[in-house]
């Protein structure tokens, strides 16, 4: 290959410039901070596997992306809250129900915070939870199949942002509302009655430890402010959950100005064990509401929706000593808990320091009632009484903190675009490194666990100007990989992402690999339209509905000739992939289908609905190149006029329908 393209020249020129000017006062470019062995550290040779799985939210794409680290290779896009043409998610008859909500079928959402399920405060690799922000929902992905199995709508919520953070043993995942809204009785109120009528709801979603099934155990009705992020206590602070709040001004317009008036907003500390006690005493109140609960059954490969009609609430105006406020400088974003559970790190986006609160001091202050005031009937603990200390001059715009296995914390700085490393016990800054650019969340492998894995930090950036070949006004966003094993952080790699990589969690690949499922066993397929055997394929008419029971195997579809469909019929192709070999999906597409196509995994059954719009011959075929004879994997459906006498018949080879002319 020749190196004479203009772009290669540009790259070479930049590299030379970088060498020449390393000692000059030029703004740091990536080339100047990459150390010589970075390429070796991210090189994963062909045939070798990545060490770590990174699960990043797709932000406004509504999906989750799984990347391998250290290579940064995109391994898979897992469809969650948005329809996905690649595999028919949200288009196929089996998966449509997953996107049902009380507002109807919602084919797109905004997904922010992936969370790997925890056992004893560490990632256990069973499930991944993620929030749908706009139409409040929580999804559960099964990490054995990388498939979304459950989506639970969250009532009384607006902007499901502080969600879904899980407790030490995944007893709960929480869903805190970003927008407070009027929630009981008459909700048609003037917007400027925010202070009187708007309230926050913090939902505690119980997770069944065996199957992972979710249900809303209770909602805490809390003061009407904005709830931004959350982290659970662990170890020393197990049983508590910490939420950041902004807009303690309770403004309802021009929030940018009006919600930054006060010097301090709050961290809300929630004693969920106490809430459980109140529930046991029967102090919860059943409140009517409507929300959807969608489940995908792995045995039938099909989803169904259930409508829930009420939720149990606990009102913190009435039931005291569940929640407390801790003042926190200006518009806090993240509240992150150290591995031992003792330190709660809060980041005020507009603050010049990072306050670190002590769980022990906080509980002492509660016991001694060292309160400075009340806010909407919630006690406000004195700032100094709960404070362990402050990280001084950390940088501009601190957002989120995660921890390594050596006693250090890493905080993302949105405004100054950098990661700052500091020592948790002394709160002194020890290193800082630029990011490209505008970092939001960051992730340390296992960085919210009791025992972090450490080794890598990942920056999740909002802006990528000049990082890759430009693609037009809409650039991809990016993630960056840093080696954090030494005293100094080292940039190893940056890579483009799908959508906005809002937050990500990472864990060693072994944790996921041990549970991986490679095929769906045909004998365990309980789909009502499954065909286990080519001889069982058939076609059945019921009024205007025609069901085709079809199989796919390398390299034919059965049946491959279908006649007797009439204009006005609704045709359901139910296709079972008979392969029992890993990594051999088959696709299915039929001309003129207004839906997507299907992608059917080995041993799986999926259905596409097709309503032909004209008479004639319609080819169908497999869309996934599966063998040398893949092109031959095809067939024909004949559509006759509504009053036709052509009999409904289907077959393959010698059983194919023969010589029936149209008679009208």
């Amino acid at each position: 290959m020749s190196l004479s393209t203009p772009y290669s020249k540009l790259v070479l020129a930049t590299a030379v410039a970088a060498v020449t000017f390393t000692t000059a006062c030029k703004p740091k470019k990536a080339e100047t901070v990459i150390s010589g062995d970075a390429a070796q550290k991210v090189y994963v040779a062909p045939g070798k596997l990545d060490e770590v799985y990174l699960f990043a939210s797709g932000g406004f794409s509504g999906q989750v992306a799984a990347y391998g680290l250290p290579s940064g290779r995109l391994l898979k896009v897992i469809p969650v809250f948005s329809q996905n043409p690649e595999n028919g998610w949200g288009y196929s008859e089996e998966t449509k129900a997953m996107l049902n909500t009380s507002h109807g079928f919602i084919p797109w959402d905004d997904a922010h915070h992936p969370q790997i399920s925890k056992t004893d405060g560490s990632d256990d690799g069973r499930w991944l939870f993620i929030n749908g922000n706009n139409t409040p929902r929580i999804a559960r992905i099964n990490l054995a199949t990388f498939k979304t199995e459950e989506i639970l709508e969250i009532p009384n919520s607006g902007g499901n942002h502080s969600s879904p953070y899980c407790t030490e043993n995944t007893e709960y995942v929480v869903a805190g509302t970003r927008f407070s809204v009027p929630i009981e009785g008459n909700t048609d109120v003037p917007i400027n009655t925010y202070k009187e009528n708007f309230r926050g709801a913090l939902s505690f979603v119980k997770v069944d430890p065996k199957e992972g099934h979710m249900n809303i155990a209770f909602q805490l009705l809390v003061p009407g402010v904005n709830y931004d992020l959350a982290r659970s206590g662990k170890g020393a602070s197990h049983g508590w959950m910490f939420f950041t709040c902004y807009n303690s001004e309770q403004a309802n317009t021009l929030l940018e100005v009006n919600a930054s008036q006060r010097d301090k907003d709050f961290i809300m500390a929630v004693n969920w064990k106490k809430a459980e006690e109140y529930l046991k005493q029967g102090k919860g109140k059943k409140t009517p509401t409507t929300y959807y609960h969608n489940n995908y059954d792995e045995r039938t490969h099909s989803a169904s929706s259930k409508v829930e009609k009420e939720v149990l609430t606990l009102d913190t105006r009435v039931l005291k000593d569940i929640v407390y406020f801790i003042p926190c400088p200006k518009s806090p974003h993240g509240a992150d808990v150290s591995p031992d559970g003792e330190s709660i790190v809060a980041s005020g986006k507009l603050a010049a320091v990072i306050p670190v609160f002590s769980f022990k001091k906080m509980t002492d202050a509660i016991a001694k009632k060292t309160f400075e005031s009340e806010f909407d009937k919630v006690p406000v603990i004195k700032y100094e009484a709960a404070l362990a200390g402050e990280v001084q001059k950390p940088g501009l715009g601190p957002l989120h903190t995660e921890f390594d296995d050596k006693g250090y914390a890493y905080t993302s700085m949105f405004v100054s675009s950098e990661i700052v490393k500091w020592k948790v016990d002394t709160r002194e800054v020890v290193d800082r490194i630029p990011t490209y650019y505008s970092i939001g969340h960051l992730c340390v492998v296992g960085g919210d666990n009791k025992k972090p894995y450490g080794k890598y930090a990942i920056a999740l950036n909002k802006i990528t100007k000049d990082r890759y070949l430009p693609t037009g006004p809409e650039l991809t966003q990016s993630a960056q990989l840093f080696d954090i094993t030494g005293e100094k952080m080292n940039l190893l790699l940056d890579f483009p992402t799908i959508g906005e990589p809002h937050y990500a969690q990472a864990c060693p690949a072994d944790v996921i690999l041990k549970n991986q499922k490679k095929i769906f066993e045909l004998s365990k397929n309980e789909h009502p339209y499954a065909v286990k055997n080519e001889k069982e394929t058939k076609i059945v008419r019921n009024g205007k509905r025609v069901d085709v029971w079809m199989t796919a195997i390398r390299s034919h579809l059965a049946p491959d000739n279908i006649e007797g469909i009439k204009l006005g019929d609704e045709v359901y192709f139910h296709i079972t992939n008979l392969e029992q070999d890993w990594d051999v999906p088959h696709g299915f597409a039929v001309k003129g289908a207004e839906n997507a196509e299907l992608l059917i995994m080995p041993g799986e059954t999926q259905t596409i609905k097709w309503t032909p719009k004209s008479t004639g011959i319609f080819p169908f075929y497999c869309t996934d190149f599966c063998s040398a004879l893949h092109q031959e994997m095809q067939g024909y459906a004949r559509v006759s006029p509504a009053n036709s006498t052509v009999a409904l018949k289907s077959g393959i080879g010698e059983t194919a329908p023969k010589n029936e002319l149209a008679k009208n």
Binding site: I519, E521, L522, K532, N533, E534, K535, T551, I553, R554, S555, H556, A558, L578, E579, Q580, D581, V584, S627, A628, L629, G653
Partner: protein, 132 residues
């Protein structure tokens, strides 16, 4: 780069007539399979497994569908070869000369259909019965 390998492969397969008997035991976990009188119960079970996992590609007469017709297969192949082909088809078509020749003839890679060792033995029994 690959041309020398490919020509070797063509040479190696060109000389093999897949219709005649071969003593190859194939490659896989089955190295010594004892067969004597037909086990009718196994043959019946084998037919059930064959119908669900093999019949989409193989007929039990002489007709080729996706793969070869299986009439006479127990006369052409050793029991070990048949059982290794069912359980280890990918390696077989890469390394066993007879299986390589069959792939060149039919052009579709046979798949491992998640058949257990016991079921494999039952399928063998069903094919033996088919050849009586």
């Amino acid at each position: 780069m690959a041309s020398s390998d490919e020509s070797q492969q063509t040479e190696a397969t060109a000389t093999i007539d897949t219709k005649v008997h071969s003593d190859s035991k194939g490659i896989g976990k089955f190295t010594d399979v004892k067969v004597d009188g037909l086990n009718a119960d196994h043959a019946t079970k084998g037919k059930t497994v064959f119908d669900s996992k093999c019949s989409a590609c193989h007929r039990v007469d002489e007709t080729k569908v996706v793969g070869p017709g299986l009439k006479g297969v127990t006369k052409r192949r050793t029991p070990e070869w048949i059982m290794n082909m069912i359980t280890n088809p990918a390696e077989m078509t890469q390394k066993d000369p007879v299986a390589k020749a069959l792939l060149a003839e039919h052009l579709t890679q046979m798949t491992f259909q998640n058949v257990s060792d016991d079921e494999t033995r039952q399928i063998l029994e069903f094919l033996r019965k088919n050849d009586l």
